[in-house]
Point group: C2
Chain length 338, copies 2
């Protein structure tokens, strides 16, 4: 890989499809650092379904990426120059350096220092990072999973979903996954330890599959999708069910889609639906990652990576992710590991 | 009033309208009591919107009233014969004696003994009873209201709604009521101390009214209605909003109506919708009523009663309640006070 600096910038907003030509790779000057700053060489870039929201103009929980600005993203990189006391040269950091080869940081956009001895450093972008923490907060804090509960997860083979399934098993629950296509269903069963998995593409409705996979009804529902999959689960919730809304990737952003009103089911079942955002739980991020790392050490956590080499392939890889064609956590290898 | 016994029985199920001729008043033998039993002379019968659900065959949180059986209902009565050690003759009890003049009880269908010195005994059926406790649990336990919050309540002038508004004020929140017609709006403002009240019948949408009444957005929403009123509030919730579903009187029971999907709003606003049922909180009923009684003593709680004289008018009064034409808590005076 070259030592020149490059950025990928956002050129246009989706209308509404996310296509690779919304982005453009441009040369950028190699930055110089000031006092209290460091230069980070980006090694890994995470691609996430939430990026669809980050580049849209629709109301969202963060300001959209500006047209002409480098695309934002979670990264793992190494400090290659430093005038910052907490981050000496050689430190591996997980931060928000975006779609760039090199970035200057004053530390405010660093999430944590990565211990390369604990696990491969790319895991700081998934099972021991934001995806793992998202699964943890949604299943443990929002759904309050208990031993014996039946947990249903959508996008069950994905970076977040596969962690929900594995944490459910750690906690003594029954894990039921919903995923798209026989390959992902097989991954759920063979790699991630789900008790049952349903292919939502195999039939018009996943209802009969859920009846078989969750014969005692559904106590916890971790939803990344919305729409018809959400409806089928809601029809089968138990009294006191807890539903965590983590994403809505199966629903158009605009206009607001319609569907069955959940009010009466929520009332009759005394159930709860709650949206959550991992960024609200930032203060607990390190503690959560430590707990996930302990489960990883004990052999409870497996993962798959879907790696694209080079920043020039990032936009295509994002489009692939948003169409559900990736298998495993979508990562871009921006630079060499060491 | 006569000393003969009478029941009102359910003859037919709604299809889907609740009409007075679903019910019939019949003579009944005067019951005799055994050991551990008592005879209760019913004085007050509560009419509640939930009765629509109790007589329907649709899935619900309780078994429907059987055809030919006396209609169920919350009552206040006086023990007139007793072979039960805890309930001597003269005791005033709040229980579930149903639409009857006289009922035998072994104590299992008694909710609490009423202190006639505390307040008029009819209040045990509303502000110091199930309605008050419902408002308390929904606003304090489910919505977790805080000082400075903006609270929106639907059916704001109703038996539950008016208590939600008054508890919101006790807790230092801004109370915004939504009610049907100028008379109920005036009642909200003049009697129940709401900061603002909106007539949902005055225009197609209550959106502009909410914009004016809740300029800082909505933190807590206590909903008895569903449908268009629910949608208008959801469009204006703040980050971290809490929504308690207490009823769905504005939504048809069958088929399940459709509407805007709330998933994306819940996610972006990290908000929560939760259905609750006061019967799940029975173990705390006495403690909650004690707290409500203290607020009543301190002058924070006002109420209105809409009284129908005689069990023979109960069915018509229920139809009137379900069409929103009552003003105040709907009660039937079944027998003389003492």
């Amino acid at each position: 890989m070259s030592d020149e600096n490059r950025h990928v910038v956002l050129r246009r907003r989706p209308d509404p499809d996310v296509r690779a030509d919304l982005f453009e790779m441009v040369d950028a000057p190699m930055p110089t650092i000031g006092d209290g700053e460091m230069l980070i060489r980006v090694i890994w870039l995470s691609l996430d379904p939430a990026m669809r929201g980050w580049i849209a103009d629709a109301p969202n929980y963060s300001r959209p990426v500006a047209i002409g600005a480098p695309m934002t993203g979670f990264t793992v990189g190494q400090v290659v120059e430093s005038r910052h006391p907490r981050f000496p040269v050689g430190t591996i950091v997980q931060g928000r350096q975006g779609w760039r080869r090199y970035a200057v940081s004053d530390g405010s956009d660093i999430d944590r220092i990565v211990d390369a001895a604990q696990a491969p450093i790319s895991t700081a972008l998934h099972v021991l990072g934001m995806n793992g923490a998202t699964a943890y907060v949604g299943l443990i804090d929002v759904c309050r999973v208990k031993p014996g509960d039946t947990v249903v997860v959508t996008t069950a083979a994905g970076a977040v979903g596969s962690m929900v399934g594995q944490i459910a098993k750690v906690k003594g629950a029954r894990a039921v996954g919903v995923a798209g296509g026989p390959e992902k269903v097989a991954t759920c069963l063979d790699e991630f330890g789900y008790d049952a998995a349903i292919d939502y593409r195999a039939s018009v409705t996943i209802g009969p599959g859920l009846d078989e996979a969750a014969p005692d009804g559904i106590d916890c529902f971790f939803d990344n999708v919305g729409g018809a999959q959400f409806d089928a689960v809601m029809d089968r919730i138990n009294v006191g069910a807890r539903i965590a809304i983590c994403g809505t990737i199966g629903m158009p952003s605009f206009p607001l889609p319609t569907g069955p009103r959940p009010n009466r089911q929520l009332l009759v079942k005394r159930a709860r639906i709650e949206g959550f955002l991992i960024l609200d739980h930032y203060d607990r991020f390190s503690a959560i990652v430590d707990e996930l790392a302990a489960w990883y050490r004990d052999g409870h956590i497996r993962y798959r990576e879907d790696v694209t080499d080079g920043l020039e392939g990032a936009a295509d890889a994002l489009v692939r992710l948003l169409s559900g064609r990736n298998t495993g956590k979508a990562l871009v290898r921006v630079g060499a590991d060491q």
